[in-house]
């Protein structure tokens, strides 16, 4: 694992995530880049994505009680999430999303280094629902590190119409060199 130059004051992204999870406990679960990083996908991220089974009003209320300002954006457009709550905690931007629309409402939750994250299969489902290029990059990387989940990931991607994107990333040489399992 490469390290950045020494002497640099570390900004604690993971501490901010921990704090946000505390505020949203026990209904909050980390998704997005930090969760991917925990599972070994080294993609730069600068914000916290969290899914919750709480409704938006309750989320705003929890955040306000914790002294955290946040804005809610609602949408009725097809394909959009019905609401997203954005804010900043300890200088780090965050987004809180509805669990039911990100595949997290029935997710099996695990603790990794003290952080609540979905298990790897549930995380893959959330990525296939989002279905962007970065999401499929992450799923492909996970499949390369854990070949045992490849069929599951392909099946989920197929269900959600993003199998072509996933297969394209699975064929990517640079990704293969970086993440291919040595098992």
């Amino acid at each position: 694992m490469k390290c950045m130059p020494s002497g640099r004051k570390s900004v604690q992204l993971n501490e901010a995530a921990r704090r946000l999870l505390e505020v949203m406990a026990p209904e909050g679960v980390l998704i997005g880049g930090i969760c991917g990083f925990i599972y070994g996908v080294e993609r730069y991220t600068r914000d916290i994505d969290l899914a919750t089974t709480l409704d938006a009003e309750k989320v705003i209320s929890r955040l306000r009680d914790a002294g955290i300002e946040a804005d809610m954006r609602s949408s009725n457009e097809p394909g959009d999430l019905s609401w997203v709550i954005s804010g900043e905690i300890e200088g780090v931007e965050f987004q809180i999303l509805p669990a039911a629309e990100t595949g997290m409402d029935g997710a099996r939750v695990e603790l990794k280094a003290g952080l609540r994250v979905p298990d790897i299969n549930s995380f893959i489902v959330s990525k296939c629902i989002a279905a962007g290029q970065q999401d499929m990059h992450d799923v492909a990387a996970l499949c390369m590190m854990h070949p045992g989940i490849l069929m599951f990931a392909k099946s989920e991607a197929d269900k959600r119409g993003c199998l072509n994107k996933l297969e394209s990333w699975l064929d990517d040489r640079r990704l293969q060199q970086r993440y291919a399992s040595t098992d």
């Binding site: 694992m1 490469k2 390290c3 950045m4 640099r8 004051k9 570390s10 900004v11 604690q12 992204l13 993971n14 930090i34 990083f37 925990i38 070994g40 080294e42 730069y44 991220t45 600068r46 695990e110 603790l111 990794k112 280094a113 003290g114 952080l115």
Partner: protein, 86 residues
């Protein structure tokens, strides 16, 4: 891996970094046994052990791969923030 070892590894992976002493207390196991198991994990590359002074005492802190990844994430984040600020 034995059931006892895999249970200990699960505790290491789930919690924040703990010393061997804290791990022994957390799991209700003998310090020496936990120490030996942690050494086995370290040789297999499953954990890293780093020295740290806690409460004025030298401790051996046990970190799982998840802790190391989060530390790396923080370093990348700090680096990115400096670049954006420059």
């Amino acid at each position: 891996m034995t059931k006892r070892k895999s249970e200990l590894l699960a505790v290491i992976e789930e919690t924040e970094p703990l010393s061997i002493y804290q791990l022994a207390r957390r799991t209700g196991r003998n310090y020496r046994r936990v120490h030996d198991h942690v050494q086995v994990f370290a040789r297999a590359g499953l954990v890293k052990i780093r020295p740290e002074v806690r409460n004025g005492r030298q401790s051996s802190i046990v970190e799982s791969v998840y802790h190391l990844r989060l530390r790396h994430l923080d370093e990348m984040y700090a680096f990115g923030k400096e670049i954006r600020a420059a």
